[in-house]
Assembly symmetry: C2
Homo-oligomer: 401 residues x 2
């Protein structure tokens, strides 16, 4: 299965992560990563990440560079930044963007409250952009809070589904081997054309791999390689592992990655990314009842029904809403049994609005009337249809179960 556990802590789940919620995660990371300086109070920037994001996205066939294409109204790169930010032991994230996209990028960082990001200007090629990112980490500039890391991760802005475990694997392997990169089996056979566009030879598929991202390097290994490499490499090269091999004589350790590391390249990949994100955020729903008694009657029935369609269903009479919002639930169903007005719904809407959740995704709030009691099955179908599609065109509609 290519997808992370639905409703789990995968990178496609929206943030920002709120304080006080990452205790368990942080503890787990810290134990395996103490040597990266993740201990409390340690300032050493042991691991940093560089994201080249200067591409024009010409293969996408749309004028917006792909890293800025919106998925559920949020730019693709913001999902990727979030996936990296969640990993507490990555101390700095350097993003290389073109001068004309610098303001756009600053706006994204502000709007989605990204932390630990530094921007550098992209070069005209991918390698030049990465080199600019490395330079920012290498040079001790006055008034610059960045410091040289032991290990640097290089990732793509257009691979939003990177998980902590693969990041940990490449970083660990880089510490041991000097360089490391994620790989995947080839989907198509690779062939070499002759000058007249005829088949010269084909490669045996099983003997080759696709080189994916993330990759990680001891900082000195990759920085030395970039400092030595030729203009030809900087202009036409595509592979950082190749530079480490050619100039620093380091044979990178290759780590098997999951299918969801794939690079968003074509328009169809945007469609796929949107569907994956929708699937992940639609698995958790909170049913808000208007009285305590109902929680035990209608609420329980609805909970059972919804569980046939969704992974996580929680029923509440509203006292602990603030906590539920903190737990990153994006879907709420209000059941009004006793009252025919929408007090509870309004209270929820206000709370959601204040929570900052709504700037991340369309939030679906569904209000159901008493009839639900009679046709819970139909209600369940409607609720999961609305949650899964998240279509804002249906806002304000009264749907009858």
């Amino acid at each position: 299965m290519e997808l992370g556990p639905p409703g789990g802590s995968g990178p496609a789940e929206p943030g920002p992560r709120l304080r006080g919620l990452r205790g368990a995660d942080a503890a787990a990371s810290a134990s395996s990563l103490s040597r990266f300086g993740a201990e409390a109070g340690c300032r050493a920037s042991a691991v940093a990440a560089v994201l080249p994001a200067g591409g024009s996205g010409e293969r996408m066939g749309v004028p917006t560079p792909k890293q800025f294409c919106p998925i559920l109204e949020r730019p693709l790169i913001s999902y990727t930044l979030q996936a990296l930010e969640r990993v507490s032991w990555i101390k700095d994230i350097i993003v290389a963007v073109t001068r004309e996209n610098m303001e756009t990028m600053k706006g994204i960082i502000q709007r989605y409250q990204h932390k630990r990001i530094s921007l550098v200007e992209a070069g005209v090629t991918r390698h030049r952009s990465i080199f600019n990112g490395l330079k920012a980490l290498a040079e001790d500039q006055p008034n610059c809070r960045l410091s040289k890391p032991e290990v640097v991760i290089i990732h793509d802005a257009v691979r939003p589904f990177v998980e902590e475990d693969v990041l940990l694997k490449v970083v660990t392997a880089a510490q041991e081997h000097g360089a490391s990169g994620a790989i995947r089996p080839l989907v198509s056979t690779v062939i070499s054309p002759s000058a007249d566009s005829c088949l010269d030879h084909s490669l045996e598929r099983a003997r080759y791999r696709a080189s994916e991202m993330p990759q990680a390097f001891l900082f000195d290994v990759i920085y030395d390689a970039y400092q030595q490499c030729s203009d030809y490499d900087l202009e036409f090269g595509t592979e950082c592992l190749h530079l480490a091999l050619k100039y620093s004589h380091i044979k990178a350790k290759l780590v098997e990655g999951s299918p969801d590391l794939w690079k968003v390249t074509y328009k169809r990949d945007l469609y796929a990314a949107e569907s994956i994100i929708k699937e992940r955020i639609s698995q958790k729903v909170c049913v808000v009842m208007d009285t305590k008694e109902d929680e035990e009657h209608v609420g329980h029935c609805l909970e059972e029904m919804l569980k046939t369609e969704l992974n996580h269903v929680k029923v509440t009479s509203g006292q602990d809403l603030q906590q539920i919002i903190l737990e990153q639930c994006y879907n709420f169903v209000c059941v009004n049994v006793m009252t025919s007005d929408f007090e509870e719904t309004q209270r929820l809407l206000n709370m959601v609005e204040e929570s900052n959740l709504s700037i991340l995704y369309p939030v679906v709030v569904i209000s159901e009337e008493q009839k639900l009691r009679e046709s819970l099955r139909q209600g369940t179908t409607i609720i999961s249809a609305l949650i899964k599609e998240r279509n804002s065109g249906l806002i304000g509609q009264l749907l009858v179960a």
Copy 2:
């Protein structure tokens, strides 16, 4: 842009093609393809296609083999068969399926009215399945309507978006060169690992291509190659072009394909395919008015509004519905201005049901009341939301604009 023209005659548009509609297409094909025996009355099976469909789909992470995974409730392979069937000069389509999926496949052929299909049993590998397909075409068996073609196309069951133009290109090139195949630029760098999973070397991405499908061969070239090839090739090989080179000494002509030739491999690819199909079939809508007069008032306004969201909008008062259904429109909006009952809607529903369209995709029939006149903008948003999502969970709902 990777997508075909929305609302055009792309392969992802549903069939079956109805008689009397393909005149223009057929004439165009016949002129360029007369040498393939496409002339009226010519029995020569100049071009056939072989589709290996015996895969288990293990990479998809779901128990159903990927070629049988549903997209909008219809199995993936049915879209691919339809794309090939539309090309009138492909005389026979041989599908290789495993014994356990034979009945499933027969059911699909019957349900979606596929024509010109012959089934053979798949082998345990892709090459063995293709070989079985070729044997069925080569051998003159009694009571078998198949005859040996001049050119054979080999395609994948899981590449549903193949267009006639690329099929024509590979067939023409195969006639000239003996073999031909579609290629695409590499998305990732290809690397060769050493035995200890370290980088041995990386390939210069620009010098290599991904070998995609369709491919085409002079029948004798590829059949001879399969008859000669080793058990090792049949077990572990993946590339037909390689067999033609190795055993028939034919250097295949490589033809640049479009991005939509990609192979549905992972679950994300199913998501992408569904989104592409939804996008294509949602671009055409027919607004049905209940009286002739209204067609000129509300109808005209609604038409203008809808045109801002959808490519093809047609307004009718219902006389020419049969013709519109024949033209493969899948979306109808009924506007009831004069009458408050749903006579026109019921008439349309009956017609759609009889037309066989409804077995292909969810058909969206939206009924709007007089309020539409006052809030056409909101109505347009609702209509396009419904058409684009095609969510059956909302069937029977009364939506208010």
